[in-house]
């Protein structure tokens, strides 16, 4: 991409600055229901009274099935919400996302509820872990780090699995 190391460093730092601006910019956005962005758990925990009567979309873990109660987290703060008017069958530890109207007394009048069963949740993280390891191994076998130029280079021949496990000899 760049002919000199200095230009590359300047580019990387500039791009990281833009990315950081994105993180702060997005974090400062207020919900806009007209654009499909409804208040979430962080807004309810931040100021519950302000959002009473509004449509909200909140995700949390099921802590009680009958009545349906979920625990919503925001950093180290938590709130327990009771979901009414839901006909979905849920189990403890399932993750649910609920869309509905926020009512007084930590209640959401449910319009729609999406359930992610606990074991499916575990499955998702397990296969995602497998995928991350697979891509990592492919990268190590097919690309190498050129310490002199500070770039990744394609290997002429993929690194053998044996060498990958034992570690590649330098030089």
């Amino acid at each position: 991409m760049f002919s000199s190391k200095l230009h590359r460093k300047i580019a990387i730092v500039s791009l990281l600055v833009i990315l950081t601006v994105f993180f702060i910019w997005y974090g400062s956005l207020e919900p806009e229901p007209d654009r499909g962005d409804h208040p979430g758990g962080e807004h309810i925990i931040g100021d519950y009274e302000m959002h009473i009567g509004e449509k909200v979309e909140v995700g949390g873990e099921v802590i009680e099935e009958e009545p349906l109660r979920i625990e919503v987290e925001h950093g180290d703060q938590k709130i327990v919400l009771t979901i009414i008017d839901s006909e979905e069958t849920v189990g403890r530890k399932d993750r649910v996302t609920v869309y509905g109207t926020l009512r007084e007394g930590n209640v959401i009048e449910c319009k729609n509820l999406v359930v992610r069963p606990y074991w499916n949740w575990i499955y998702m993280y397990a296969v995602s872990g497998v995928a991350a390891v697979w891509v990592g191994i492919r990268l190590l076998k097919q690309w190498k780090w050129d310490r002199e130029n500070w770039t990744f280079e394609q290997r002429r021949k993929p690194l053998e699995s044996k060498k990958l496990i034992k570690g590649e000899k330098r030089g």
Binding site: M1, F2, S3, R8, A11, I12, L15, I18, L19, F22, F23, I24, W25, Y26, G27, S28, L29, E32, R35, G36, D37, H38, E42, K55, E57, H74, G75, D76, R95, T97, V98, Y99, N112, L113, V114, R116, P117, N120, W121, Y123, M124, V127, S128, V130, A131, A132, W134, V135, R138, L139, Q142, W143, N149, W150, T151, F152, E153, Q154, R155, P158
Partner: protein, 160 residues
């Protein structure tokens, strides 16, 4: 977001198909498409570094979500491409974007409670798409279908 395995397998299939048309797309470059297909999931860094804790420390609003939007993948793809040589870097960026866009496209079809998808095109467009989702991020079927399809394409590729 769908599970990471589904995303990287879709990236693999795209890579294999493209390698039939473009000779320069070698196995190493197929891996780069797979990395691109995993790129938006860097957003999972929030499981390790809680954005709300960061917010408390720095005193200003903060969110990792841009990493899972078009704007975010463009910038993170450019950062990664900077770590490759001049000619390779341009190819890497292109392939990372192909993988990342396949990821964002698949995730636009996730079932949501409100019926609104996520802000795919942020920061260019803030509105969320109204798409009737067809699967959940935790569903087993997408990954099973992706495994079978990838196996079929791997077999065809070997015959080719």
């Amino acid at each position: 977001m769908a599970d990471l395995l589904t995303h990287v397998l879709v990236g693999y299939i795209i890579g294999v198909v493209l390698s039939w048309k473009y000779e320069w797309i070698s196995r190493s470059y197929i891996t780069i498409i797979m990395v691109g297909a995993a790129l938006p999931d860097i957003v999972r860094i929030r499981l390790l570094l809680d954005p709300f804790t960061i917010e408390d420390h720095i005193g200003i609003p903060f969110s990792w979500t841009p990493l899972h939007t078009l704007g975010g993948v463009l910038i993170s793809g450019m950062i990664i491409a900077c770590f490759f040589g001049e000619k390779t870097g341009k190819r890497v960026f292109l392939l990372l974007m192909i993988g990342a866009i396949s990821h964002l496209f698949l995730d636009a079809f996730l079932i949501t409670a409100s019926g609104y998808s996520y802000a795919v095109f942020w920061p260019f467009i803030r509105s969320r798409l109204t798409i009737s989702g067809i699967y959940l991020s935790t569903d087993v079927l997408p990954s099973v279908l992706a495994i079978i399809s990838a196996f079929v394409f791997w077999k065809i590729d070997r015959i080719e």
